[in-house]
Symmetry: C2
Subunit: 389 residues, 2 copies
């Protein structure tokens, strides 16, 4: 395995799976004629971002101003900063806009609109803003029938900022357990966005942007009438939480952590590896799902799931404890010290977020039923990742 030359722990991306995941969502949205605004918080890398943006208008979403700078430096200029704006960041945002970044903000409260309007006047910056609308009471957003929606838009306009539309994220879709729930969450997300857009139009606002999305709803939407763009990020990497939702299969998960066996817990029939929560993250997303995979599922060095259902049961900072999910002891002869394993993560954003760089594995191999078996890795390309804020 060429990956045996890599220092462990290392973040790996399977190029074949990544490409397939990107193609799948593109094909899906193409049927609706709605473009994608990929959310780059999962990949945090320029090369992969350019691949995800191909065939779309070129706009992306980010979760930090550090990401905005990272992608702007690579020529991606149309950026939606998809976290409610903190007033303390407005001077920094204005500087970026004056430098040519087409940065759009979001907010969900008249008080936040007042802070933006005040800064727009003070700094002479016509901040472009989407109003965040709430689909499912999971996190943020104004309800589409709340008069504060119109009030916030008026405050923005009055101060010289530009209310440019609405955005909705149906975070509740992550708690679905079946297809019906996912389809329903997607419909609700679309309906709420369009309803808010119509309320704004009735109040005399132009609403060029009606932005919806999450990976689960993007993959299950059946109606995008009135929607101008879909946002999704995890879809490119996928993870165990998405597989647990039924949004992908385990063999669609493109991201994994390469690690090495460093010891045995003989009495417990468990194995120690050099990937702990610093590499895997503390995310326990599958704990809420039908099948709890601890801190991740264990594959061999080539990325194939081990025959028994093997997971990372527990972690310390730089140690992982590998065990069978059914509690039966592992045969330690199968796990010699020095053996390399790959761990599929619960949550791609959280695990990838722990790394400054990753390695893209180009592969070819025999294909059986659409999945690559016995892949031969023929290239390893190091890719930088953005970090910090």
């Amino acid at each position: 395995m060429p990956s045996s030359g890599l220092q462990t722990p290392a973040l790996l991306v399977d190029e074949t799976r990544f490409d397939r995941n990107v193609d799948r969502l593109n094909a899906r949205l193409h049927r609706f004629g709605v473009p994608l605004r990929p959310h780059l918080k999962t990949i945090k890398n320029v090369e992969l971002a350019l691949h995800m943006l191909a065939g779309h208008p070129g706009g992306a979403a980010v979760s930090t101003l550090a990401e905005a700078d990272h992608f702007f430096a690579a020529g991606i200029t149309d950026l939606l900063y998809a976290v409610g704006i903190a007033p303390g960041k407005l001077d920094d945002v204005a500087r970026r806009i004056h430098d040519g970044m087409r940065l759009t903000l979001i907010l969900d409260h008249p008080d936040a609109a007042r802070a933006v309007a005040e800064a727009a006047e003070r700094l002479g910056t016509p901040f472009r803003v989407l109003l965040e609308v709430d689909a499912d009471r999971q996190r943020a957003g104004i309800r589409p029938d709340d008069p504060e929606l119109i009030e916030a838009a008026r405050i923005l306009r009055h101060g010289g900022a530009r209310p440019a539309g609405v955005m909705v994220h149906a975070g509740g879709s992550y708690a679905c357990r079946d297809r019906g729930c996912l389809v329903g969450a997607a419909q609700q997300e679309r309906d709420v966005a369009v309803s808010a857009a119509e309320a704004l139009r009735r109040a005399g606002f132009e609403v060029p942007v009606v932005s919806v999305g999450s990976t689960p709803t993007a993959m299950y939407a059946e109606d995008l009438t009135g929607v101008t763009e879909v946002r999704a990020g995890v879809y490119a990497f996928m993870d165990l939480v998405m597989a647990g939702l039924g949004v992908c299969g385990t063999d669609d998960i493109a991201v994994s952590v390469l690690s090495e066996v460093i010891g045995h817990r003989r009495r417990q029939g468990e194995v120690l590896i050099d990937a702990g929560w610093m590499a895997l993250s503390r995310d326990r997303g599958t704990a809420e799902q039908r099948v709890d995979y601890g801190y991740g599922r264990v594959c061999d060095e080539a990325g194939q799931l081990l025959p028994a259902d093997v997971i990372v049961r527990a972690t310390n900072q730089e140690h992982g404890i590998v065990a069978r999910r059914d509690g039966e002891p592992l045969d330690r002869a199968d796990f010699p010290i020095g053996r390399r394993l790959r761990i599929l993560p619960n949550h791609a954003c959280a695990t990838a977020g722990q790394f400054e760089r990753m390695f893209l594995l180009g592969a070819h191999g025999d294909s059986i039923g659409g999945s690559i078996v016995d892949p031969i890795v023929d290239s390893i390309v190091p890719l930088a990742r953005c970090r910090g804020w």
Copy 2:
């Protein structure tokens, strides 16, 4: 507040509390005449490391080779890499030793000893190794009466490596609920280490190093006879898990995350901030303790706990949801959009591990009962942190 000029989220270190924490453990170990080998995985910063090393022989522990490089470049040459060595790292370790780093490894299995012995012969590098001994069956280590302890030492010596002693980490101390348990865990850690050292001496080995430690056991040890060094790392920052154990008070916690209110969840009586799990980490360490603080306890911008018991109840990547712990609604008039808050972390290592830099706040102020009230921050010093592997 001078911290109002900082970008949020930001990692803050209270210099007064940091100094007091360092002094407290130093004074404690001074009574036993045992030096400290500070574990630098919590702070990951040179300036703070030099402060922690003052008055001790100068050796430190690290959890990654990246940390070893980071501190070696600053002149800290005696480094214990306190994670069982992965055979795949031995060539990299040898390079560092040849460059002058006095890097000591650990292992807990004859097979790992064989890999080190083979590399020692192949590379002409007399790796210095401590044998990891198991105190409480929590993670790794050979039991002190297991013949594999002597076998591993013999394999190392035969290959030209240097078995230099034993190390024990009583990770089980983190699960204690009272002082008796902590004192017992410390005694067990010491007893197991000394017993393993004696077994090695009976087999003809010199055992210059008998290394024990964890922050809880370092703070509660009553007998360190036969121990040559104590390791601890969290003690300098402290955190809610340590406070929950009784190892420190909440007002000893030196590390916090500065964040800003970005919205309200009116119906739920909750508040949104711009610090999610990317800043706070996914660590839920207090979930297992008597009082569960979610993703952290909320303080005002000056670092004083809010009058009601307020926590970060939930997190997304860059969003935190702030709520009263008792479920009663917050008064949103107390949390205007733009207000800054500081979050005390569950686990200092995990939260600090999310940041590339931190800000040391120097403060003076009126002191009541030993704790600074109404502090006036008079300096903010940015400090770099090591990241990666």
